[in-house]
């Protein structure tokens, strides 16, 4: 089995303050399925990389679009599923 890999936090100044959309979602706990969720907000620039090759996630704040009932004002979005509003 592979060993557990490290995570590393950082700040991406180029990403900070950009308005972004996230084609998000994830597995549905307790089922074999997944679901899609959409978010729009402001990238803070904070990121976290998991493993090698690094899998990068950005923190998105000030959400102007989020799923009904989503309680938070922030969400972590996988970089490959994140689109700047100009994309």
């Amino acid at each position: 089995m592979p060993e557990a890999q490290q995570s590393e936090k950082g700040f991406d100044a180029e990403m900070a303050e950009k308005i972004v959309e996230c084609d998000g979602g994830g597995p549905i706990p307790g089922t074999k399925l997944a679901g899609r969720q959409e978010f729009v907000g402001r990238a803070t620039g904070e990121y976290i990389d998991h493993g090698d090759p690094p899998w990068r996630w950005y923190l998105v704040a000030d959400l102007t679009l989020k799923p009904d009932g989503y309680p938070g004002d922030t969400v972590w979005c996988e970089s490959g599923s994140l689109y700047t509003k100009t994309d």
Partner: protein, 370 residues
């Protein structure tokens, strides 16, 4: 028309006879489909890394070197972390009360054991990364990303001889993944089971095919017959991704009650609902989905809160094998799931139906119109 309309670039890429991909959570179905000349992908999103490694070994032992795939769900968004117990405290009392009313009205018993939701513990970024590492280490022939962009893993996968397919629900996702270099795109329409995007199969497939260049497109969503296979190829796909079709097959480990419900179901019996998880998914209708669709029902909560509400119902329904309560994810093509055939027979039927369809289309005389 080519001599064999079913021989596509997906067949060449994978070395398979038929451009049919079975998505299943059952290893026996994978082995049966692969050995019948098609391709199969095992959904492993809810399995721990050591379980995935064991399943890969089991399949390898059964398929004599033929290719197969492993599907993981790469989470694309995640709320700030919180323990389940803490999250449960945030569920509004009105929603708890409504869930309890449903349970009382439909005489839903208590689950027999610990809820699967709690046993499993949930997928976080670290767990998803550990699952991926098993796929890389085991050099699985094909890795499919059921949700989320697999771009970051492409180089590592390709260097190990692993092909990477991405499942998308929007054309812009396909455009990005094609540019990133995935080996195939699974374009999934809203007719599909489980998690789906909002676009129909007949729209998303040709839209993605138009931008795909040489990248094969696999059509997903509502595909359950050979006519669907023929139609998908006409839309520009190089193959089809099928899920619901295998749930009731002989080798499937689905509960017999679920198999019988699927066989009896028509497209009218599926519902696109957020009531199970807070995320949109298509399932067979059941009392839970029906009650939450009522005009006086509260608005569903987001994930993971809605799942915390529904998990008692789901676990109890399955634990007690209550036919009236149980449900399963199912696509709109469920109407065509009409018997418990062996997986090999399903492959043969799909192929023959598709070839008949092409024959009919090319042999019929033009109809005169006034």
């Amino acid at each position: 028309m080519p001599k064999d309309p079913l021989h596509t670039k997906l067949c060449d890429m994978l070395g398979i006879e038929f451009p049919i991909v079975a998505f299943t959570h059952c290893k026996d179905v994978v082995a049966a489909v692969v050995n019948a000349g098609a391709f199969a992908v095992l959904g492993e999103a809810m399995h721990k890394p050591d379980e995935i490694a064991a399943d890969i070994k089991w399949i390898r032992d059964k398929v004599d070197g033929k290719p197969f795939g492993i599907d993981l769900v790469l989470p694309a968004s995640a709320p700030p972390a919180g323990a389940l117990k803490e999250l449960e405290k945030e569920i509004p009392e009105s929603h708890r009360q409504f869930a309890n009313e449903i349970k009382k009205k439909h005489n839903v018993p208590e689950p027999k054991g610990e809820q699967a939701l709690h046993q499993w513990g949930g997928l976080n970024q670290e767990m998803a990364r550990a699952q991926l590492d098993v796929v890389l280490e085991e050099r699985v022939p094909v890795f499919t990303s059921g949700l989320g962009n697999p771009a970051f893993i492409l180089e590592a996968a390709h260097s190990r001889g692993i092909k990477v397919f991405g499942l998308i629900g929007k054309t812009r996702q396909a455009a990005r993944e094609i540019e990133d270099g995935v080996d195939a795109i699974i374009a999934q329409g809203t007719d599909a089971a489980g998690h789906t995007g909002p676009v129909g199969t007949f729209s998303i497939v040709p839209e993605v095919a138009a931008i795909a260049g040489d990248t094969p497109i696999i059509a997903a969503g509502g595909v359950t017959t050979g006519q669907h296979l023929a139609a998908a190829l006409c839309l520009g796909a190089s193959g089809v991704w099928t899920g619901t079709l295998w749930l009731a097959c002989r080798e499937s480990d689905s509960d017999m009650i679920i198999k019988e419900k699927l066989i009896a179901a028509t497209s009218d019996d599926t519902v696109y609902s957020r009531s199970v998880s807070g995320m949109p998914m298509r399932t067979l209708k059941c009392p839970w989905t029906t009650e939450w669709a009522a005009p006086d029902a509260p608005k569903t909560l987001s994930a993971p809160y809605q799942m915390l509400l529904s998990s008692d119902y789901i676990q109890a329904a399955n634990d007690h094998r209550r036919e009236d309560l149980m449900f399963e994810a199912a696509g709109q093509g469920v109407s065509f799931v009409t018997s418990m055939k062996p997986a090999k027979q399903i492959v043969i039927d799909l192929v023959e139906e598709a070839l008949d369809t092409f024959d009919r289309l090319t042999s019929e005389s033009p109809v005169a119109t006034g």
